[in-house]
């Protein structure tokens, strides 16, 4: 592929340049770092939506986009779906529910497989968020299926995390176990038109009352994403949380924690890549690993520490 001047494409507002830059993020191409250095990196606020498949996350995001567009804000969505563990392929279908915004140049939707991100999902989405900010988006929404680790990774990136539930899909007790209430800034019981929604909300309320007192108490919002019912309340809850982050200093604390976390993640990723290269290139080291991964790891770490490999790790 020929070198493209992505920065120029960004400045020209060419969506293909943005799309390609996000692909580079997914491929962990170091060109992204140069690009971000050139563009500057304003960071738009990020709202994360997570929850079991089918709870209505994409439909809610669609309704939220409509709200923000009415206010003239430019909105980008990153929708993450898991890849097939067998083939690495994926069917990414979140756009289906967001068709109302097709051809609106103030809306950008990008589907991402979680392939190859293994724990690096937050790294990839954090970089994508910066690119979206540099491109001029005012709001970023991150949708992730709440299975396993991914909701924790969303919380690590989002300023406000919305946990979406729906009657009949994933019961409350199970979610407590998954620690999901701890990451929720706003709780949504969607599909309030269906039987069982009131009871689900009631159960949640009981659980929240049992949880340790915190400065911010996650509100429970009932919505019918399909009709837009409850969207006003959801938007108010999001605005209140944003206000709380700004007013209490919690926003700054979270930002700092995120940046430190990111630095540590980057070290992990770069070191891992360099280690794999070393193990491949150095037969002696490989054999050492065959006998004792611990001994090999210590050797690798000391070699990374003395510089020779360090430059390469960033290459």
């Amino acid at each position: 592929m020929p070198e493209r001047d992505l920065a120029a494409e960004f400045r020209a507002g060419n969506v293909r340049g943005l799309a390609r830059a996000i692909t580079l993020v997914e491929r962990r191409d170091p060109a992204v770092r140069r690009l971000l250095a050139e563009l500057g990196q304003p960071r738009p606020p990020v709202v994360g939506f997570t929850g079991a498949p089918g709870t209505g996350k994409s439909t809610l995001v669609d309704a939220l986009i409509r709200h923000w567009r009415a206010l003239g804000r430019k909105v980008a969505v990153i929708a993450v779906d898991p890849n097939s563990p067998y083939s690495g392929g994926a069917i990414l279908g979140d756009r289906i529910r967001m068709q109302g915004h097709a051809l609106d140049p103030g809306v950008y939707i990008r589907s991402m497989g979680a392939r190859g991100h293994l724990g690096g999902l937050s790294l990839a989405t954090r970089e994508a968020v910066r690119l979206l900010g540099a491109f001029g988006f005012d709001e970023v929404v991150l949708e992730t299926v709440g299975v396993g680790q991914s909701e924790l990774e969303v919380a690590a990136v989002a300023d406000t995390t919305v946990v979406v539930m729906a009657p009949g899909l994933g019961d409350g007790v199970q979610m407590i176990k998954a620690g999901i209430l701890e990451i929720a800034d706003v709780l949504v019981v969607n599909k309030a038109d269906l039987a069982g929604a009131q009871r689900a909300a009631q159960e949640l309320r009981t659980m929240l009352n049992l949880a340790p007192r915190t400065e911010w108490k996650p509100p429970i919002v009932m919505t019918v994403a399909l009709s837009g019912e409850g969207m006003d309340e959801l938007e108010q809850a999001l605005a209140r949380h944003r206000h709380y982050l700004e007013g209490s200093g919690e926003g700054r604390r979270r930002m700092q924690a995120r940046l430190r976390e990111e630095a540590a993640d980057l070290v992990g990723q770069w070191a891992r890549e360099a280690a794999l290269r070393l193990l491949e290139a150095d037969g002696e080291l490989g054999r050492l690993a065959d006998e004792s991964p611990y001994v090999a790891a210590e050797q690798i770490l000391s070699r990374l520490g003395t510089g020779g490999e360090r430059a390469e790790a960033r290459a």
Partner: protein, 140 residues
């Protein structure tokens, strides 16, 4: 386990139903076959216009667009997609299609720039193998 440091680029394909016909069983079967062959399929749903399909492909940085249509309007819809790709300077994106399309139209559409056309009854494996040839870099 591969010791490759960076993951290979997954080939991304936008699959879309264009036109007014309202069933998507066929295209969903294709989507699953492509997923199982290691592709990232972005499925955009029913009743897409050519402009919507191309816009989705640009936003998603897709290398290919797969169109499914059974409405009989292929001689207007498919050229409209090609035209939109030209307009947006994205003719490097490969277009293939599936549907009930007579032979003479197939020849004409290929002349216009459609890379391949699969008619009903074409084995799914044929689509997968054709894509593998077109995108040899995909991991298998």
């Amino acid at each position: 386990m591969a010791t490759r440091a960076a993951p290979p680029r997954p080939v991304r394909i936008v699959l879309a139903k264009v036109g007014l016909d309202g069933h998507d069983r066929g295209v969903k079967v294709v989507a699953r076959a492509l997923r199982d062959a290691g592709y990232e399929v972005i499925y955009t749903g029913l009743r897409q216009t050519p402009a919507m399909v191309v816009d989705a492909a640009l936003q998603e940085d897709a290398q290919a667009i797969g169109l499914s249509l059974h409405s009989g309007a292929h001689m207007t819809l498919i050229p409209a997609v090609l035209e939109e790709l030209r307009r947006r300077q994205a003719t490097d994106i490969l277009v293939f299609a599936g549907g009930i399309i007579p032979d003479e139209d197939i020849a004409e559409l290929k002349r216009m720039g459609v890379a391949e056309i699969f008619t009903p009854g074409a084995p799914l494996q044929g689509i997968v193998e054709w894509l593998r040839e077109r995108f040899p870099e995909v991991e298998s």
